[in-house]
Symmetry: C2
Subunit: 227 residues, 2 copies
Protein backbone atom coordinates (compact mmCIF):
# COMPACT_ATOMS: atom_id res chain seq x y z
CA UNK A 1 0.00 0.00 0.00
CA UNK A 2 2.75 2.42 0.94
CA UNK A 3 4.52 1.96 -2.38
CA UNK A 4 1.36 2.70 -4.34
CA UNK A 5 0.67 5.83 -2.33
CA UNK A 6 4.18 7.13 -2.85
CA UNK A 7 3.91 6.46 -6.59
CA UNK A 8 0.56 8.27 -6.79
CA UNK A 9 1.99 11.27 -5.00
CA UNK A 10 5.07 11.36 -7.25
CA UNK A 11 2.95 11.16 -10.39
CA UNK A 12 0.65 13.84 -9.16
CA UNK A 13 3.62 16.14 -8.43
CA UNK A 14 4.93 15.42 -11.94
CA UNK A 15 1.53 16.25 -13.40
CA UNK A 16 1.55 19.63 -11.66
CA UNK A 17 4.83 20.49 -13.38
CA UNK A 18 3.51 19.08 -16.67
CA UNK A 19 0.43 21.28 -16.56
CA UNK A 20 2.66 24.30 -15.89
CA UNK A 21 4.74 23.38 -18.97
CA UNK A 22 1.59 23.01 -21.04
CA UNK A 23 0.40 26.43 -19.93
CA UNK A 24 3.69 27.95 -21.14
CA UNK A 25 3.47 26.11 -24.48
CA UNK A 26 -0.10 27.32 -25.03
CA UNK A 27 0.60 30.89 -23.96
CA UNK A 28 3.53 31.14 -26.38
CA UNK A 29 1.87 29.22 -29.21
CA UNK A 30 4.31 26.30 -29.18
CA UNK A 31 3.31 22.78 -30.22
CA UNK A 32 5.07 20.14 -28.12
CA UNK A 33 5.51 16.55 -29.31
CA UNK A 34 7.02 13.83 -27.08
CA UNK A 35 8.77 10.92 -28.84
CA UNK A 36 8.99 7.61 -26.99
CA UNK A 37 10.68 4.37 -28.04
CA UNK A 38 13.09 1.60 -27.12
CA UNK A 39 16.82 2.27 -27.64
CA UNK A 40 17.80 2.48 -31.28
CA UNK A 41 14.32 2.70 -32.81
CA UNK A 42 15.29 5.80 -34.77
CA UNK A 43 14.06 8.79 -32.78
CA UNK A 44 17.14 10.92 -33.46
CA UNK A 45 17.20 10.15 -37.18
CA UNK A 46 13.50 10.97 -37.43
CA UNK A 47 14.13 14.34 -35.77
CA UNK A 48 17.06 15.05 -38.11
CA UNK A 49 14.92 14.38 -41.21
CA UNK A 50 11.98 16.33 -39.78
CA UNK A 51 13.91 19.50 -38.94
CA UNK A 52 15.54 19.38 -42.38
CA UNK A 53 12.17 19.02 -44.09
CA UNK A 54 10.66 21.98 -42.22
CA UNK A 55 13.86 24.07 -42.20
CA UNK A 56 12.27 27.12 -43.87
CA UNK A 57 8.71 26.56 -42.67
CA UNK A 58 8.76 25.90 -38.91
CA UNK A 59 11.00 27.06 -36.06
CA UNK A 60 11.70 23.75 -34.34
CA UNK A 61 13.67 23.15 -31.16
CA UNK A 62 14.48 19.91 -29.36
CA UNK A 63 15.12 18.55 -25.88
CA UNK A 64 16.93 15.23 -25.85
CA UNK A 65 17.03 12.83 -22.90
CA UNK A 66 19.68 10.16 -22.37
CA UNK A 67 21.19 8.32 -19.42
CA UNK A 68 24.58 9.46 -20.64
CA UNK A 69 26.43 11.08 -23.60
CA UNK A 70 25.59 14.15 -25.66
CA UNK A 71 25.72 12.21 -28.94
CA UNK A 72 22.10 12.80 -29.92
CA UNK A 73 21.95 16.53 -29.22
CA UNK A 74 25.18 16.98 -31.20
CA UNK A 75 23.65 15.16 -34.17
CA UNK A 76 20.51 17.30 -34.08
CA UNK A 77 22.39 20.58 -33.47
CA UNK A 78 24.32 19.95 -36.70
CA UNK A 79 21.03 20.61 -38.51
CA UNK A 80 20.95 24.20 -37.26
CA UNK A 81 18.18 24.05 -34.67
CA UNK A 82 18.34 24.90 -30.96
CA UNK A 83 18.71 21.72 -28.93
CA UNK A 84 19.62 20.85 -25.34
CA UNK A 85 20.74 17.52 -23.95
CA UNK A 86 19.28 16.35 -20.66
CA UNK A 87 21.54 13.73 -19.11
CA UNK A 88 19.41 11.83 -16.60
CA UNK A 89 22.40 10.09 -15.05
CA UNK A 90 20.57 6.79 -14.62
CA UNK A 91 16.92 7.85 -14.49
CA UNK A 92 14.85 5.85 -16.96
CA UNK A 93 12.60 8.70 -18.16
CA UNK A 94 12.34 12.46 -18.46
CA UNK A 95 10.15 14.22 -15.92
CA UNK A 96 8.07 17.36 -16.26
CA UNK A 97 10.06 19.37 -13.70
CA UNK A 98 13.29 18.95 -15.68
CA UNK A 99 11.55 19.87 -18.92
CA UNK A 100 10.27 23.00 -17.20
CA UNK A 101 13.81 23.97 -16.22
CA UNK A 102 14.95 23.77 -19.84
CA UNK A 103 12.00 25.57 -21.51
CA UNK A 104 13.29 29.11 -20.71
CA UNK A 105 16.53 28.40 -22.61
CA UNK A 106 14.63 28.60 -25.89
CA UNK A 107 13.53 31.84 -27.53
CA UNK A 108 9.84 31.33 -26.82
CA UNK A 109 8.80 34.25 -29.03
CA UNK A 110 10.24 32.43 -32.03
CA UNK A 111 9.82 28.75 -31.22
CA UNK A 112 6.85 27.10 -32.95
CA UNK A 113 7.53 23.43 -32.23
CA UNK A 114 9.33 21.69 -29.37
CA UNK A 115 10.22 18.05 -29.98
CA UNK A 116 11.11 16.04 -26.90
CA UNK A 117 13.20 12.94 -27.51
CA UNK A 118 12.63 10.84 -24.41
CA UNK A 119 15.10 8.36 -22.88
CA UNK A 120 15.27 5.14 -24.94
CA UNK A 121 12.81 3.03 -22.98
CA UNK A 122 9.38 1.84 -24.06
CA UNK A 123 8.13 1.43 -20.48
CA UNK A 124 8.83 4.15 -17.90
CA UNK A 125 8.49 7.31 -20.05
CA UNK A 126 4.87 6.33 -20.76
CA UNK A 127 3.95 7.07 -17.13
CA UNK A 128 5.28 10.64 -17.11
CA UNK A 129 3.24 13.35 -18.79
CA UNK A 130 5.57 16.22 -19.70
CA UNK A 131 2.94 18.74 -20.82
CA UNK A 132 3.14 17.70 -24.48
CA UNK A 133 0.20 18.12 -26.85
CA UNK A 134 0.89 14.85 -28.60
CA UNK A 135 2.85 11.72 -27.85
CA UNK A 136 4.33 9.52 -30.58
CA UNK A 137 5.71 6.02 -30.02
CA UNK A 138 8.23 4.51 -32.41
CA UNK A 139 8.68 0.76 -32.89
CA UNK A 140 11.34 -0.32 -35.37
CA UNK A 141 10.68 -3.32 -37.61
CA UNK A 142 13.61 -5.41 -36.22
CA UNK A 143 11.92 -5.25 -32.79
CA UNK A 144 9.05 -7.38 -34.08
CA UNK A 145 5.37 -6.95 -34.90
CA UNK A 146 4.29 -8.26 -31.47
CA UNK A 147 5.70 -5.26 -29.60
CA UNK A 148 2.47 -3.19 -29.47
CA UNK A 149 0.72 -5.87 -27.39
CA UNK A 150 3.80 -6.41 -25.22
CA UNK A 151 4.07 -2.69 -24.41
CA UNK A 152 0.41 -1.66 -24.07
CA UNK A 153 1.20 1.42 -21.95
CA UNK A 154 3.06 3.04 -24.83
CA UNK A 155 0.11 2.42 -27.14
CA UNK A 156 -2.56 3.55 -24.65
CA UNK A 157 -0.86 6.88 -23.95
CA UNK A 158 0.21 7.72 -27.51
CA UNK A 159 -1.60 9.60 -30.25
CA UNK A 160 0.41 7.98 -33.03
CA UNK A 161 2.63 4.96 -33.52
CA UNK A 162 5.37 4.92 -36.16
CA UNK A 163 6.72 1.62 -37.42
CA UNK A 164 10.23 2.71 -38.39
CA UNK A 165 13.05 1.18 -40.47
CA UNK A 166 10.66 -0.32 -43.04
CA UNK A 167 13.73 -0.70 -45.30
CA UNK A 168 14.70 -3.67 -43.08
CA UNK A 169 11.41 -5.55 -43.59
CA UNK A 170 12.91 -7.93 -46.21
CA UNK A 171 15.55 -9.05 -43.68
CA UNK A 172 13.53 -9.34 -40.46
CA UNK A 173 10.44 -11.14 -39.21
CA UNK A 174 7.94 -8.27 -39.28
CA UNK A 175 4.42 -8.17 -40.72
CA UNK A 176 3.16 -4.60 -41.01
CA UNK A 177 -0.49 -5.61 -41.12
CA UNK A 178 -0.13 -7.68 -37.93
CA UNK A 179 1.80 -4.86 -36.23
CA UNK A 180 -0.90 -2.31 -37.11
CA UNK A 181 -3.68 -4.62 -35.96
CA UNK A 182 -1.82 -5.27 -32.71
CA UNK A 183 -1.46 -1.53 -32.11
CA UNK A 184 -5.11 -0.75 -32.88
CA UNK A 185 -6.28 -3.68 -30.76
CA UNK A 186 -4.68 -1.94 -27.77
CA UNK A 187 -5.67 1.62 -28.71
CA UNK A 188 -8.13 2.09 -31.54
CA UNK A 189 -7.65 5.88 -31.71
CA UNK A 190 -3.95 5.63 -32.73
CA UNK A 191 -2.72 7.14 -35.97
CA UNK A 192 -0.60 4.35 -37.46
CA UNK A 193 2.25 5.15 -39.85
CA UNK A 194 5.09 3.13 -41.34
CA UNK A 195 8.26 4.75 -42.62
CA UNK A 196 11.94 4.57 -43.34
CA UNK A 197 13.93 7.69 -42.55
CA UNK A 198 16.75 6.08 -44.58
CA UNK A 199 14.91 5.59 -47.90
CA UNK A 200 12.23 8.24 -47.37
CA UNK A 201 9.41 5.71 -47.71
CA UNK A 202 6.33 6.89 -45.79
CA UNK A 203 7.98 10.12 -44.63
CA UNK A 204 5.45 12.37 -46.44
CA UNK A 205 2.61 10.90 -44.37
CA UNK A 206 4.58 11.64 -41.19
CA UNK A 207 5.42 15.17 -42.35
CA UNK A 208 1.72 15.81 -43.12
CA UNK A 209 0.67 14.54 -39.69
CA UNK A 210 3.42 16.59 -38.01
CA UNK A 211 2.63 19.80 -39.90
CA UNK A 212 -1.13 19.62 -39.40
CA UNK A 213 -0.68 19.33 -35.62
CA UNK A 214 2.06 21.95 -35.52
CA UNK A 215 -0.06 24.44 -37.44
CA UNK A 216 -3.05 23.83 -35.21
CA UNK A 217 -1.17 24.51 -31.98
CA UNK A 218 1.59 26.95 -32.87
CA UNK A 219 0.98 30.66 -33.10
CA UNK A 220 0.51 31.96 -36.67
CA UNK A 221 2.26 35.32 -35.84
CA UNK A 222 5.56 33.54 -35.43
CA UNK A 223 6.19 33.12 -39.12
CA UNK A 224 7.47 36.73 -39.17
CA UNK A 225 10.27 35.67 -36.80
CA UNK A 226 11.36 32.78 -38.99
CA UNK A 227 15.10 32.31 -38.62
CA UNK B 1 17.25 13.07 0.34
CA UNK B 2 13.97 11.28 1.13
CA UNK B 3 13.75 9.87 -2.37
CA UNK B 4 17.27 8.50 -2.19
CA UNK B 5 16.62 6.91 1.21
CA UNK B 6 13.42 5.24 0.02
CA UNK B 7 15.23 3.95 -3.07
CA UNK B 8 18.08 2.59 -0.95
CA UNK B 9 15.64 0.82 1.32
CA UNK B 10 13.73 -0.66 -1.62
CA UNK B 11 16.92 -1.89 -3.23
CA UNK B 12 18.14 -3.31 0.02
CA UNK B 13 14.84 -5.16 0.49
CA UNK B 14 15.20 -6.50 -3.07
CA UNK B 15 18.77 -7.55 -2.34
CA UNK B 16 17.61 -9.54 0.68
CA UNK B 17 15.25 -11.54 -1.52
CA UNK B 18 17.98 -11.86 -4.18
CA UNK B 19 20.43 -13.31 -1.68
CA UNK B 20 17.78 -15.81 -0.56
CA UNK B 21 17.31 -16.85 -4.22
CA UNK B 22 21.05 -17.21 -4.65
CA UNK B 23 21.24 -19.40 -1.58
CA UNK B 24 18.59 -21.73 -3.06
CA UNK B 25 20.41 -21.84 -6.42
CA UNK B 26 23.70 -22.73 -4.73
CA UNK B 27 22.19 -25.29 -2.39
CA UNK B 28 20.53 -27.09 -5.30
CA UNK B 29 23.43 -26.70 -7.71
CA UNK B 30 21.59 -24.50 -10.21
CA UNK B 31 23.34 -21.94 -12.38
CA UNK B 32 21.21 -18.81 -12.87
CA UNK B 33 21.76 -16.42 -15.79
CA UNK B 34 19.79 -13.15 -16.14
CA UNK B 35 19.30 -11.80 -19.70
CA UNK B 36 18.73 -8.04 -20.08
CA UNK B 37 18.05 -6.04 -23.22
CA UNK B 38 15.83 -3.51 -24.96
CA UNK B 39 12.60 -4.81 -26.57
CA UNK B 40 13.22 -6.96 -29.61
CA UNK B 41 16.96 -7.52 -29.17
CA UNK B 42 16.53 -11.27 -29.48
CA UNK B 43 16.43 -12.65 -25.92
CA UNK B 44 13.68 -15.19 -26.63
CA UNK B 45 15.27 -16.44 -29.85
CA UNK B 46 18.62 -16.82 -28.07
CA UNK B 47 16.94 -18.90 -25.36
CA UNK B 48 15.19 -21.07 -27.97
CA UNK B 49 18.48 -21.81 -29.74
CA UNK B 50 20.30 -22.38 -26.46
CA UNK B 51 17.82 -24.89 -25.00
CA UNK B 52 17.80 -26.75 -28.34
CA UNK B 53 21.58 -26.90 -28.39
CA UNK B 54 21.82 -28.28 -24.86
CA UNK B 55 18.67 -30.43 -25.10
CA UNK B 56 20.41 -33.69 -24.14
CA UNK B 57 23.21 -32.18 -22.03
CA UNK B 58 21.69 -29.70 -19.57
CA UNK B 59 18.33 -29.48 -17.76
CA UNK B 60 17.40 -25.88 -18.46
CA UNK B 61 14.38 -23.97 -17.19
CA UNK B 62 13.29 -20.39 -17.85
CA UNK B 63 11.43 -17.53 -16.19
CA UNK B 64 10.20 -14.90 -18.62
CA UNK B 65 9.15 -11.36 -17.69
CA UNK B 66 6.87 -9.17 -19.76
CA UNK B 67 4.51 -6.28 -19.12
CA UNK B 68 1.82 -8.30 -20.86
CA UNK B 69 1.20 -11.40 -23.03
CA UNK B 70 2.43 -14.97 -22.64
CA UNK B 71 3.93 -15.03 -26.16
CA UNK B 72 7.52 -15.58 -25.07
CA UNK B 73 6.92 -18.37 -22.58
CA UNK B 74 4.77 -20.17 -25.18
CA UNK B 75 7.62 -19.94 -27.69
CA UNK B 76 10.14 -21.35 -25.23
CA UNK B 77 7.78 -24.05 -23.87
CA UNK B 78 7.46 -25.40 -27.42
CA UNK B 79 11.11 -26.48 -27.07
CA UNK B 80 10.21 -28.88 -24.26
CA UNK B 81 11.66 -27.09 -21.25
CA UNK B 82 9.87 -25.94 -18.08
CA UNK B 83 9.09 -22.23 -18.36
CA UNK B 84 6.87 -19.76 -16.47
CA UNK B 85 5.70 -16.37 -17.63
CA UNK B 86 5.79 -13.50 -15.14
CA UNK B 87 3.41 -10.75 -16.27
CA UNK B 88 4.50 -7.60 -14.47
CA UNK B 89 1.39 -5.69 -15.44
CA UNK B 90 3.29 -2.46 -16.05
CA UNK B 91 6.37 -2.83 -13.87
CA UNK B 92 9.50 -2.15 -15.90
CA UNK B 93 11.67 -4.90 -14.40
CA UNK B 94 11.59 -8.23 -12.59
CA UNK B 95 12.30 -8.16 -8.87
CA UNK B 96 13.91 -10.76 -6.65
CA UNK B 97 10.82 -11.37 -4.53
CA UNK B 98 8.77 -12.42 -7.57
CA UNK B 99 11.58 -14.66 -8.82
CA UNK B 100 11.64 -16.28 -5.38
CA UNK B 101 7.92 -17.02 -5.61
CA UNK B 102 8.43 -18.87 -8.92
CA UNK B 103 11.56 -20.90 -8.02
CA UNK B 104 9.62 -23.65 -6.13
CA UNK B 105 7.59 -24.40 -9.28
CA UNK B 106 10.64 -26.03 -10.85
CA UNK B 107 11.91 -29.50 -9.96
CA UNK B 108 15.01 -28.25 -8.15
CA UNK B 109 16.49 -31.74 -7.89
CA UNK B 110 16.67 -31.91 -11.68
CA UNK B 111 17.17 -28.30 -12.77
CA UNK B 112 20.77 -27.42 -13.68
CA UNK B 113 20.31 -24.02 -15.30
CA UNK B 114 17.71 -21.29 -14.80
CA UNK B 115 17.61 -18.62 -17.49
CA UNK B 116 15.76 -15.43 -16.58
CA UNK B 117 14.52 -13.36 -19.50
CA UNK B 118 13.97 -9.92 -18.00
CA UNK B 119 11.44 -7.32 -19.16
CA UNK B 120 12.52 -5.66 -22.42
CA UNK B 121 14.18 -2.56 -21.01
CA UNK B 122 17.87 -1.68 -21.00
CA UNK B 123 17.55 0.64 -17.99
CA UNK B 124 15.51 -0.44 -14.96
CA UNK B 125 16.35 -4.19 -14.81
CA UNK B 126 20.01 -3.28 -14.35
CA UNK B 127 19.23 -1.93 -10.84
CA UNK B 128 17.60 -5.13 -9.56
CA UNK B 129 19.81 -8.05 -8.59
CA UNK B 130 17.74 -11.23 -8.78
CA UNK B 131 20.27 -13.61 -7.23
CA UNK B 132 21.73 -14.63 -10.59
CA UNK B 133 25.32 -15.86 -10.92
CA UNK B 134 25.82 -14.05 -14.21
CA UNK B 135 24.12 -11.25 -16.06
CA UNK B 136 24.20 -10.95 -19.85
CA UNK B 137 23.15 -7.84 -21.79
CA UNK B 138 22.05 -8.11 -25.42
CA UNK B 139 22.31 -5.22 -27.89
CA UNK B 140 21.08 -5.90 -31.43
CA UNK B 141 22.97 -4.42 -34.37
CA UNK B 142 20.01 -2.28 -35.61
CA UNK B 143 20.09 -0.45 -32.25
CA UNK B 144 23.47 1.07 -33.11
CA UNK B 145 27.08 0.73 -31.97
CA UNK B 146 26.77 3.72 -29.61
CA UNK B 147 24.36 1.96 -27.26
CA UNK B 148 26.96 0.65 -24.76
CA UNK B 149 27.98 4.20 -23.83
CA UNK B 150 24.38 5.40 -23.75
CA UNK B 151 23.34 2.62 -21.36
CA UNK B 152 26.36 2.36 -19.05
CA UNK B 153 24.40 0.75 -16.21
CA UNK B 154 23.72 -2.32 -18.32
CA UNK B 155 27.44 -2.63 -19.14
CA UNK B 156 28.65 -2.00 -15.58
CA UNK B 157 26.42 -4.67 -14.05
CA UNK B 158 26.84 -7.34 -16.75
CA UNK B 159 29.39 -10.12 -17.09
CA UNK B 160 28.95 -10.40 -20.84
CA UNK B 161 27.51 -8.36 -23.68
CA UNK B 162 26.16 -10.03 -26.82
CA UNK B 163 25.86 -8.04 -30.03
CA UNK B 164 22.97 -9.88 -31.67
CA UNK B 165 21.48 -9.98 -35.18
CA UNK B 166 24.88 -9.73 -36.88
CA UNK B 167 23.12 -10.95 -40.05
CA UNK B 168 21.68 -7.41 -40.33
CA UNK B 169 25.08 -5.66 -40.29
CA UNK B 170 25.12 -5.16 -44.10
CA UNK B 171 21.84 -3.22 -43.87
CA UNK B 172 22.34 -1.08 -40.76
CA UNK B 173 24.82 1.46 -39.46
CA UNK B 174 26.75 -0.71 -37.00
CA UNK B 175 30.49 -1.11 -36.56
CA UNK B 176 31.32 -4.14 -34.44
CA UNK B 177 34.78 -2.89 -33.51
CA UNK B 178 33.38 0.44 -32.32
CA UNK B 179 30.59 -1.30 -30.39
CA UNK B 180 33.07 -3.59 -28.64
CA UNK B 181 35.38 -0.70 -27.80
CA UNK B 182 32.43 1.28 -26.45
CA UNK B 183 31.39 -1.62 -24.24
CA UNK B 184 34.92 -2.25 -22.91
CA UNK B 185 35.45 1.48 -22.32
CA UNK B 186 32.54 1.34 -19.83
CA UNK B 187 33.38 -2.05 -18.32
CA UNK B 188 36.73 -3.61 -19.19
CA UNK B 189 35.90 -6.97 -17.58
CA UNK B 190 33.04 -7.73 -20.00
CA UNK B 191 33.10 -10.83 -22.18
CA UNK B 192 32.15 -9.47 -25.61
CA UNK B 193 30.49 -11.72 -28.19
CA UNK B 194 28.78 -11.11 -31.53
CA UNK B 195 26.27 -13.54 -32.96
CA UNK B 196 23.27 -14.20 -35.15
CA UNK B 197 20.76 -16.70 -33.78
CA UNK B 198 19.27 -16.71 -37.30
CA UNK B 199 22.36 -17.77 -39.27
CA UNK B 200 24.23 -19.42 -36.40
CA UNK B 201 27.23 -17.11 -36.78
CA UNK B 202 29.05 -16.74 -33.46
CA UNK B 203 26.69 -19.10 -31.62
CA UNK B 204 29.45 -21.63 -30.79
CA UNK B 205 31.31 -18.98 -28.79
CA UNK B 206 28.13 -18.23 -26.84
CA UNK B 207 27.44 -21.93 -26.26
CA UNK B 208 31.00 -22.40 -24.98
CA UNK B 209 30.68 -19.44 -22.61
CA UNK B 210 27.27 -20.66 -21.44
CA UNK B 211 28.35 -24.27 -20.88
CA UNK B 212 31.55 -23.41 -19.05
CA UNK B 213 29.61 -21.28 -16.54
CA UNK B 214 26.78 -23.79 -16.26
CA UNK B 215 29.20 -26.64 -15.53
CA UNK B 216 31.03 -24.60 -12.94
CA UNK B 217 27.91 -23.75 -10.94
CA UNK B 218 25.49 -26.62 -11.50
CA UNK B 219 25.66 -29.84 -9.55
CA UNK B 220 27.43 -32.72 -11.36
CA UNK B 221 25.10 -35.34 -9.75
CA UNK B 222 22.17 -34.02 -11.71
CA UNK B 223 23.18 -35.64 -14.97
CA UNK B 224 21.58 -38.88 -13.69
CA UNK B 225 18.23 -37.09 -13.66
CA UNK B 226 18.52 -35.90 -17.23
CA UNK B 227 15.05 -35.77 -18.74
Amino acid sequence: MTTINIKDRLLSKNDQFALANREIFDRHGIWCCNLISAPGSGKTTLIERTVDHFADRLNIGALVGDLDTENDSRRIAAHGVPVYQIITGGACHLNARTIGEFIPRFNLDQLEVLIIENVGNLVCPTSYYLGEHHRVSLISTPEGDDKPVKYPGAMHTSDAVLFTKTDLVPYVDFNLKAASENALKIESSLAVMALSAKTGEGMETWFDWFESHAKKHSSPDKSQHRQ
